[in-house]
């Protein structure tokens, strides 16, 4: 087929591609759609529900049906819109939702059953006996392109942040004129246009301001850039969000990731144009029915004449003038009265013309337009209101938003000269002269008419479906949308919404503005989820915190895993994890273990009000702590729920060190800061998070003291001088060191902290000494076993969102502490006093039984209900039997009781015990 001249194409550069397995040739600058049209392909897709053949209605984003799976050089993308996909050499395209191809789709037979598949069909049909019975097969039939299961490691999008004084959205005549005017006035202007060749509808005009359109666009472009304005082509503004954030997506060559820009615009001009509305009449979805504007675009931009003989059905007064260049190129046009109620489109797989009562008007192309709909999506995203224009039969922005204004066709200004005057006035903050639009004759669906008249071309919603929805009282446009799926397709109703709501208005005897529009939501065009994800994936999704000793752990063959946001050794050494963990847990109790406890929270609180403040923050009384003493305690929420646990060391008068859980440091710090600044005199308290500054190495086990003594510290480490829960300072290698006798294992333990840069030297020393006596490096997993043997909890694992401190056996401060503390009053409510509260218990299984599953429920026998659940469960290497902790209703009063455990449909038995299963007297702890 010969090509006419087109503004976007270079007809001398041929590109080869296939569609549904057949080979075709296009030219550089084509879209998949224009190339197919040039090759005479009329069926480019199938509709979603009835699999009806569909042709090209639009030439850009207003195309509901030409959705394709495209592959090129190993890249495969589902759901590419043929009208917006730039053709590249070697592309292989396939229509989605059609098998084996769009021409011959075996599911096309579904159309025969269309009278049974009306709106609400699924809701009414698949209720009995259970929707889930039907769901898998329906899901298989539904949907568009299939996503390749191959993971694209390099498909990572760039995201950037940008700002400008004026963002002009749309590079047609209005946008270009406005951008030039404001750039030349010295404003910081960014113009975005979604096409590669900017200019919008400019090419459809014979001339603009006495220049050829190409020349006019080129001169505007040059002037904008000379004045310092920026032009972003292939870039769609797809959404407007809070505080004048406009989201931009830039498409690139096929298979390359799009780029996302978050643009903060102080002002914006909306020059997004308008699209043609389909005329609702029988057979209006037949391939060969095309919008008036699309035919002009295909001709002027791509040099393709969409047919040889066209019937014209339009209420646009200037339609014939607009088509004159196409006529000059050889298109025969016969205009018909659009208001004639007897018009029908003839043909099945391709239109054969129009029938009018007993007349047949032969045509291979039917050009229709029921008026133009301004693209007000972004205006609505921004919260702007719409007003109804009776002369234009369209909703227009009311331009009362302040920072954003609509110009050109988006504002209902269709005449080019008026548009340019309006754009230039708005660009400089002036008020444009009032436009007197030429009224059009309303041309809306006529409910009650015979034949199948299509309203939503992707989801196959017909006028009869709208009538059905109205009869069944889904009369609100939002209900209409959900009930019929009108406007819910991937084009989001660009071509269908106006006809749908106009039909609903007529059915209810209302005016169109009375029924209103559905909500416009971003994105304006489909945006790949990868664009939103950007770099926020895999390791960068939530970067882990790294230990100063990570190289040492790697050298020691640590299995590094994430624990509470930190990359920490789970266990050490090659081999079966369970075996390694059991070995570490056993050895640590036999001789000694060395653990990197550096992530442990280290928040210092100091200042004249520090004592009262820490006492207020903690459930436990901290005011009586003397320098050198350490006390275990809970931080509660104001609701009385355990937020974290940890130990508080008194370093001196009004100087405390809070060692909170490693995963709660940020939260605890936030909590301390909030109470410090809001409720206290912030000048009297200072909170300083030193977690990252100090490394902490824990030596635990019966021989821990022997190991620590090799450091030659001046501090006395004997149990008399430094008993359990005491704190001392010393120096090691001329570096201050803090020594805490606290234990999470239940054995004699020393926590040694010093500045992170000295941690490798300390680690090397302690590791050498530990190995010398046959001790072990200790990972988090083995430590979790040791603490579970002792019945020590981990907040968030052995507690839940209802756990209060008295549920964990810590009852005294609730009864005795008189000074106010966070959450105090919540511990005395009806709920807090409920005798059926879940309490922490130990659970033992009969001899020889396997460990309980974490999460298994403790259940009552009759009636069967959950009394609580298992929170931690391990096979204890030191007791040589399973140990478990759980939260069980009234558990503390049930010691010795046999209970039933339910897990995965099976029942077993367990006995409730005290949480501590190992060394309950604490002799080892106080050694």
């Amino acid at each position: 087929m010969t090509r006419h001249a087109g503004a976007a194409i270079d007809a001398s550069r041929k590109l080869r591609f296939t569609f549904d397995g057949r080979a075709y040739e296009g030219v550089a600058g084509d879209t998949l759609a224009s190339a197919l049209l040039a090759n005479g392909v009329r069926i480019v897709g199938r509709s979603f529900k009835y699999h009806r053949p569909r042709g090209l209605w639009g030439a850009w984003v207003d195309k509901p049906n030409a959705i394709m799976e495209v592959s090129l050089k190993g890249s495969e993308l589902p759901n590419c819109l043929a009208t917006t996909t730039t053709l590249e050499d070697g592309m292989e395209a396939r229509a989605v939702n059609a098998w084996p191809n769009a021409r011959r789709d075996i599911k096309g037979g579904l159309d025969l059953f269309s009278r049974f598949l009306t709106a609400g069909f699924y809701y009414k049909t698949f209720i009995w006996p259970d929707w889930h019975l039907f769901e898998p097969s329906i899901r298989k039939m539904a949907g568009l392109g299939s996503v390749s299961l191959e993971h694209l490691d390099d498909y990572i999008t760039d995201q950037s942040h940008d700002q400008c004084d004026l963002l002009v959205i749309g590079g047609g005549p209005a946008g270009l004129a406005a951008a030039r005017e404001s750039a030349e006035a010295g404003r910081d202007v960014v113009l975005v246009d979604d096409q590669e060749l900017i200019g919008g509808s400019a090419y459809q005009a014979p001339d603009i301001e006495e220049q050829y359109p190409e020349d006019w666009v080129t001169s505007q472009r040059a002037a904008i850039e000379t004045a310092g304005g920026r032009i972003l082509s292939r870039t769609t503004a797809y959404g407007v969000y809070d505080h004048q954030l406009v989201a931009l997506i830039e498409t690139r060559a096929f298979g390359q990731t799009p780029r996302l820009t978050r643009m903060r615009a102080r002002h914006a001009l909306l020059a997004t144009g308008a699209i043609d509305r389909p005329v609702t009449l029988p057979g209006n979805d037949t391939p060969g029915v095309m919008s008036l504007t699309a035919a002009r675009e295909y001709f002027h931009r791509y040099g393709v004449l969409a047919g040889g003989c066209a019937a014209l059905i339009s209420n646009q007064t200037d339609a014939q003038t607009a088509l004159a260049p196409l006529q000059a190129a050889g298109l025969e046009i016969q205009a018909l009265d659009p208001a004639d109620p007897d018009l029908k489109i003839a043909g099945a797989r391709q239109t054969t013309g129009v029938t009018l009562r007993d007349r047949h008007i032969p045509a291979d192309l039917v050009l229709t337009s029921a008026g133009r709909t301004p693209m007000v999506h972004l205006w609505r995203h921004a919260g702007g209101k719409l007003t109804w224009s009776d002369p234009l039969q369209a909703f227009l922005p009311d331009n009362q938003l302040g920072w954003m204004q609509a110009i050109g066709a988006a504002n209902g200004t269709f005449d080019t000269d008026t548009t340019l005057a309006e754009a230039r006035a708005r660009a400089t903050g002036a008020t444009p002269p009032a436009d007197q639009p030429e009224p059009i004759q309303p041309l809306w669906p006529r409910p009650g008419a015979k034949g199948r008249q299509w309203i939503d071309f992707q989801h196959d919603v017909t006028l009869k479906d709208v009538e059905l929805a109205a009869r069944e009282n889904y009369a609100s446009v939002e209900h209409l949308k959900r009930y019929t799926t009108l406007g819910m397709a991937s084009d989001q109703g660009k071509t269908s919404n106006m006809a749908g709501l106009a039909a609903m208005a007529t059915l209810q005897g209302k005016e169109i503005p009375q029924v209103g529009t559905t909500t416009f939501r971003p994105p304006f065009v489909p945006v790949p989820l990868a664009a939103w994800a950007g770099q926020h994936q895999r390791q960068l999704y939530h970067p882990v915190k790294r230990l100063a000793l990570e190289p040492q752990h790697r050298d020691a063959q640590a299995a590094l895993c994430e624990y509470g946001g930190w990359l920490r050794p789970g266990w050490y050494g090659a081999g079966e994890a369970d075996t390694r963990i059991a070995h570490e847990a056993r050895t640590a109790r036999a001789t000694a273990g060395l653990l990197d406890g550096s992530p442990l929270g280290k928040i210092e609180v100091m200042g004249p009000d520090a004592t009262a403040f820490v006492n207020f923050m903690f459930y436990n009384t901290m005011a009586t702590l003397k320098p050198g003493q350490i006390r275990y305690g809970f931080l509660l929420t104001e609701g009385g729920i355990v937020y974290d646990d940890g130990v508080v060391s008194c370093l001196g008068e009004n100087h405390f060190l809070i060692s909170c859980s490693s995963s709660h440091v940020d939260g605890v710090r936030g909590m301390l800061e909030t109470w410090r600044q809001d409720g206290n005199d912030p000048d009297q308290i200072f909170v300083h998070d030193l977690t990252m500054h100090w490394a902490t190495l824990t030596v635990t086990g019966p021989q821990a003291r022997d190991i620590v003594e090799t450091l030659g510290l001046e501090a006395d480490l004997s149990s008399d001088a430094l008993p359990h829960m005491r704190f001392a300072t010393s120096t090691w290698n001329e570096t201050p060191m803090r020594i805490a006798r606290v234990s999470f294992s239940g054995d004699l333990s020393f926590e040694l902290s010093l500045r992170s840069s000295m941690a490798p030297a300390l680690w090397d020393h302690l590791m050498g000494e530990t190995k010398k006596i046959g001790g072990t490096l200790l990972g988090i997993e083995a430590m979790s076993v040791l603490r579970a043997e002792k019945g020590y909890i981990m907040v968030g694992k052995d507690t839940d969102g209802e756990t209060m401190p008295h549920d964990l056996g810590f009852t005294i401060p609730r009864a005795k502490k008189t000074a106010p503390f966070v959450g105090d009053r919540s511990l005395h409510t009806e709920t807090a006093n409920d005798p059926h509260r879940k309490q922490l218990v130990g659970l033992t299984v009969p001899d020889g039984a396997p460990p309980l599953a974490t999460g298994a429920h403790v259940v009552s026998d009759a009636p069967r209900r959950s009394l609580g659940y298992v929170t931690s469960s391990y096979l204890s290497p030191n007791l040589d039997r399973p140990v478990a902790l759980g939260l069980v209703e009234n558990g503390a009063a049930r010691l010795g009781e046999e209970v039933t455990i339910w897990h995965d449909e099976t029942l077993s038995k367990a006995t409730i015990t005290a949480p501590c299963a190992f060394d309950p007297e604490g002799d080892r702890l106080h050694a």
Binding site: D242, Q677, D678, F821, R825
Partner: protein, 88 residues
């Protein structure tokens, strides 16, 4: 996405902020008896007004609390002030 002006650091992205609570809420004095009603009111009853609201926010990166006045309908920020009193 919103942007809030931290009185100490200037205009920053909303992701850096943490909502603390409504401004002007006083914690009942728990050194004496507090009724269930008063405590429940303090814990759970929020004005949640439509229009101009006054709230306490934290800028998590500098950890400073401040008061913000904003419009809960238009999301417009009407102003922020530091919580602490001036040194004078």
């Amino acid at each position: 996405m919103q942007r809030f002006p931290c009185p100490f650091c200037g205009l920053r992205d909303e992701r850096e902020f943490h909502f603390v609570g409504e401004l002007g809420k006083t914690r009942p004095d728990t050194s004496g008896p507090v009724s269930d009603e008063d405590w429940a009111h303090y814990l759970h009853m929020h004005r949640n007004e439509k229009g101009c609201v006054r709230e306490v926010w934290m800028h998590t990166t500098c950890a400073e609390l401040f008061a913000m006045e904003r419009d809960s309908v238009t999301m417009e920020v009407l102003g922020t002030t530091q919580l602490r009193k001036d040194a004078s």
